[in-house]
C-alpha cells in the first residue's frame, strides 16, 4: 500500500519543529506501524536524509516505549493497542497519516517523536512502592488475598507507563497512570500501611511536574492500550480524601529503618 505521512520533525528540545510530508510506498499491510516507519527510515537514509527518531523497544506492547499520536489519537485508531501492535491493515492505501509526539508540558519533546517521560518515574519514586527490605519476609502464602482483590489489583498493575493517558487528556492529567499504582497497592494487604503517605506524595509530585488535574472526560480510558478503567481514578480520589482528612503523615523521609 502507498501512504502519505505527515510527520513531526524537531531537531532537539530547543528547535521549534514542524510537520514534514513523506511518501511511504509499497508497504505491506501485514507490517506493524513501526515496521512501516523502519521502511520509511531506510529510504530516508538511502537518500541522505536523517531518519525519523521514535521511541520503541519490545514491539510486543508491553515495555511502554512507543508513543505516537496517529491521526490525532494516542497509539492510533485501534482500541486497546499500542503503536507497535498496530498493523497497517488498519489503514487504507492512499491514506494521509499524521504522526505526532505526545503533547504535554510535562513531556518535553527531545527529538522528532521522542519525548521525555521522566516525570512519570519521579511520580513513582515519590511513593509508588511498598517499603520492604530484601531479606526474609514471611512466607508468600501466609496472607491469603481474596481472588477478586488480587484480580482487581492485577487489572490496575498492567499499566505500561506509556503516557497515552496524558497525551489524550485536554488537561494533560496523569491520573489514570497514578491511580493504577495507587489502586493496585491499596487493594493488597501488603500495601495498606503506607496507603496514605503514598497517595499524598504521588499527588504532590504530580503537581510539581506540571501535569493537570482530572475533569472526568475519560479520554484516558479510551486511549489506554491496556484498557485500564477510570474506576481506579475514583478509588485514588477516595484514597486521597481519606488521606487528606487524616493527614498527620510526616512529609519528610520515606521508609525509615
Amino acid at each position: 500500500m502507498d501512504l502519505t505521512l505527515h510527520v513531526w520533525r524537531q531537531k532537539n528540545s530547543k528547535d521549534a519543529g514542524k510537520m514534514e510530508t513523506i511518501e511511504a510506498k509499497g508497504i505491506s499491510e501485514n507490517a506493524s506501524f513501526l515496521e512501516m516507519l523502519d521502511t520509511v527510515n531506510e529510504n530516508l537514509q538511502k537518500n541522505g536524509k536523517e531518519p525519523i527518531a521514535f521511541d520503541h523497544d519490545c514491539r510486543e506492547g508491553i515495555c511502554g516505549s512507543c508513543s505516537l499520536v496517529i491521526n490525532g489519537e494516542p497509539h492510533g485508531p485501534e482500541y486497546g493497542t499500542t503503536s507497535c501492535q498496530l498493523h497497517m491493515r488498519s489503514f487504507k492505501s492512499g491514506q494521509n497519516i499524521f504522526i505526532e509526539p505526545w503533547r504535554a508540558k510535562a513531556f518535553p519533546v527531545l527529538k522528532d517523536l521522542v519525548v521525555d517521560r521522566s516525570a512519570f518515574d519521579r511520580i513513582q519514586q515519590a511513593g509508588g512502592f511498598i517499603s520492604v527490605n530484601t531479606g526474609s519476609p514471611q512466607d508468600a502464602n501466609s496472607i491469603p488475598v481474596p481472588k477478586q482483590d488480587a484480580d482487581k489489583a492485577f487489572d490496575a498493575a498492567v499499566c505500561i507507563g506509556c503516557g497515552a493517558c496524558v497525551a489524550a487528556c485536554k488537561n494533560a492529567s496523569p491520573m489514570l497512570f497514578m491511580s493504577a499504582k495507587v489502586s493496585q497497592l491499596s487493594l493488597l494487604p501488603q500495601g495498606k500501611p503506607e496507603r496514605e503517605r503514598r497517595v499524598l506524595a504521588m499527588v504532590d509530585q504530580m503537581k510539581k511536574e506540571g501535569f493537570g488535574n482530572c475533569t472526568n472526560q475519560y479520554e484516558c480510558e479510551a486511549a489506554c492500550p491496556k484498557e485500564i478503567s477510570v474506576e481506579h481514578i475514583a478509588r485514588m480520589n477516595r484514597e486521597y480524601f481519606r488521606a487528606a482528612l487524616r493527614e498527620e503523615t510526616p512529609k519528610e523521609g520515606h521508609g525509615g529503618e
Binding site: 531537531k11 508497504i27 505491506s28 501485514n30 507490517a31 506493524s32 513501526l34 512501516m36 523502519d38 531506510e42 537514509q45 541522505g48 531518519p51 527518531a53 520503541h56 523497544d57 519490545c58 514491539r59 510486543e60 506492547g61 508491553i62 515495555c63 511502554g64 516505549s65 485501534e78 486497546g80 501492535q85 498493523h87 491493515r89 527531545l110 521522566s118 518515574d121 513513582q124 519514586q125 509508588g128 512502592f129 511498598i130 520492604v132 530484601t134 526474609s136 519476609p137 514471611q138 512466607d139 508468600a140 502464602n141 491469603p144 488475598v145 481472588k147 488480587a150 489489583a153 492485577f154 498493575a157 505500561i160 507507563g161 497497592l185 493488597l188 501488603q190 500495601g191 520515606h254 521508609g255
Partner: protein, 637 residues
Amino acid sequence: MNLDSKIPSGPLEGKWEKHKFDMKLVNPANRRKYDVIVVGSGLAGSSAAATLGGLGYNVKCFCFQDSPRRAHSIAAQGGINAAKNYQGDGDSVRRLFYDTIKGGDFRAREANVHRLAEVSRNIIDQCVAQGVPFARDYGGLLDNRSFGGAQVSRTFYARGQTGQQLLLGAYSALNREINRGSVKMYPRTEMLELVMVDGKARGIVVRNLVTGEISSHAAHAVILATGGYGNVFFLSTNAKGCNVTATWRAHKKGAGFANPCYTQIHPTCIPVSGDYQSKLTLMSESLRNDGRVWVPKNKGDTRPAHQIPEEERDYYLERKYPSFGNLAPRDIASRSAKEACDAGLGVGPGGLGVYLDFADSIKRVGEDGIKKKYGNLFHMYQKITAENPYKTPMRIYPAVHYTMGGLWVDYNLMSNIPGLFVLGEANFSDHGANRLGASALMQGLADGYFVIPYTLPNYFAGEKFDKVTAENAAFKEAENEVRSRTKAFLSIKGSRTVDSFHRELGKIMWDKCGMERDKAGLEEALVKIPKLRDEFWQSVKVLGDGESLNQSLEKAGRVADFLEFGELMCRDALHREESCGGHFRTEHQTEDGEAKRNDEQFCYVGVWEHKGMGQKSAVHKEPLVFENVKLATRSYK
C-alpha cells in the same frame, strides 16, 4: 586465564549456607564508603541496585531505555519457577535442582544450580511482599502451572505477563531507594567501555543518548546485568535495543566469554511473515499446558486445519515423548518443529509453521476458561496475524529467544576480572546448554536479590582499594577510545544502512549457527562474517552527529560489536564437537535424531579469551564435575 570456580567445599545442600557464613561482611557504617555501578535495570540489575542501595552502598544504575521499567525483562510472559511445593505434587529443592541440571543437558555447575533452587523460594516471598499480584485461587492462596521439562506445577504467574509484574516489583524497590538517595539512576545512558585500574574493574565510560556527552564513572565494583545477545540473529524475540555491547567491551578488556554458542531457540513464536519484519513475537510456553502441537500427516495437505480429520494429524510431541508430551523442553520441541517442516509437513505460507491447537481445551473449559488464562496472548496473536486463535489453531515456529552463554563467573558471580560481577542472562552460569521455561526470571532475581548482596561485601572486605576517580588516566584513555569510535562511524559516510548489515549478519547466523550447525556451515560463516565486518567499516552510512539523540549511531555501535561477537559464537560452535541442549551439531546425533553428548571430551565450560583484533581467540576449559547427579542421556520419552 584463572578459572577458579570457588565452589565451596562440603555437601551440595550445605554449600551456600556454609559459604554465607564464611564470607566477610562490611559493617553498616562502612558501606557508604563503597561505590557500586550497576549496568542494566532488568530483573537482575534492578533487584541488585535496589538491594545494595538498601544495604547502604552508594549505587549508580544505568540503562539505555528512557526508564528502568522498560528493560526487556518486562516482556517475559509465562512465569517464574520456585520449589515451594504449594501444590503438594512432589516438588522439592532437590527436584528443581535436578530438573534444571537435566534440562541444561548436564552442562551447568551443580553448586550454582542448587543455590538457585534454594533461593527460588525466597523470591516468591519477596515479590509478594512488594505487592506483585500473582495469580491466586479462590482460597486466596497462590496458584501454579506447569512448564516444560517438569512434571510438577511449580510455576508462579501473573496472567501472561509475569515478567512485567516482577520487573515492576523490582522497579518499585528501586524507586524507593532512589527516593531515599541511595541509588542514583541514569536512564538513556549507554555503557561503552569498562575501565580497569591495576587489574581491577574500577568504572565505566558512558554516552548520554540525548546529549551525546561522553563521561566517566568510577566505583569500587562494576556489575553488568545487561542481558543476552540474541539480537546477533537480527530477528529474535528480544527487544530491539538488546545488545552485546557491555559484555563484549568487557570481554575485550579481558573477561572470559563462556559458551557463546549456547543459544535458545524457543519453539512457540509467531512465524516470519515478510522481509519488512523487525522482530519475532513469542507465544508463551505456558500455552503448551492447554495447546496441542501437530502437523498434517500427509505432505502438501493444504486443507484448513479444521478440515483435517483427527487420524490425519500427527501430534508429534505426544507421539515421540509420551511422558512429557507437549511440555517437552524447548530445544527438543524446537528441533521437532524444524524436522516436521523440513520433511515438508509445515503449515502456513512457506511451510514454516506448525499448529498449536486449543480446540480440545476449549471443549473442556470453554472459550472463557482459556481467555482467563491466556487472554492477552490470544489478543496479541490476533493483532499480529489477523487470525482468531479461538477458532483456528495458532501457527507457530521456533525463534531465537534466550542465550545461555555469557561472561564467565565464579560461584560469587565475579568474572575473571576482579571487581567485575555479572548477573542474570549476561552471565553463563545456571542453565547449561538449555534453559527451562520460567527459569530466567528466577535466575535474574536470585542473582540480584539473594546472591550479589552476600558476595559483593565479601569482595570489598577482602580487598584494599587505592583511591581512583574519574580523572584517572585510564578513564581519559577509555573516553578517547569511545570518542574516536563515534567519530569513525560518522565519518565513513558509505552507502549501506546499519540495519542492512545487521539483517545480513542475522541471516548468516540463523542459517549457519541456528537450530542446527555443522562443520562446513560454520567454517563458511567464519569466512563470511569477517568479510561483512570489513564491508561495514568501509561502507556503513550513519547520518547526523554525535552531539545529540542519534538512533542510527547507537545502532551502529551495537552492530559493530555483534559483527565481532558473531565470529566468536561460530568459533565456539565449531570447537564443540558434540550436541548438547540448544547446541545441535548434525554430525553428532543418535539414531533417532536426538542430541548426542560427548562427556569424555566436552564436559567443560568453554571460556574464550580475546587475543586482540585479527588474532584468533583462545579457549580455556573449566571442567564440570558432577558429584550429585549421574550423567545420563537426557530422555523425555
